[in-house]
Symmetry: C2
């Protein structure tokens, strides 16, 4: 409960910089909106595939999220 919290913080920060709602990001990533919410609050640990999907949706490098 620390790595995933840090990840969630970065995720939210980048998402807001892009002025996207959780729902818009979810659609871009083809992930569930409620799951984005869980991730941003550090309640879930994404797999590497999910990290890549998020990075693609956010138009940043995956390494930029870790």
């Amino acid at each position: 409960m620390e790595i995933e919290q840090a990840f969630g913080n970065v995720l939210r920060k980048v998402r807001l910089e892009k002025s996207l709602s959780q729902e818009e990001l979810a659609h871009l990533c083809e992930l569930d909106r409620t799951y984005i919410s869980l991730l941003e609050r550090g309640k879930r640990k994404p797999t590497i595939n999910t990290i890549f999907a998020l990075a693609t949706g956010l138009n940043v490098l995956p390494s930029n999220l870790v």
Copy 2:
């Protein structure tokens, strides 16, 4: 079946550069040896925590593995 394969390739490359066996790495990361084997062959998708554990055991940056 592509992202995880690429990850597995990087993992094996870095591990061999450090001259570690799968078993030694597993011990350093506190992960299972057979699981390292699965990862290197792209049969499993690690979570972000696992990526950090591997990076720590390999003494590289997590972003270096993605």
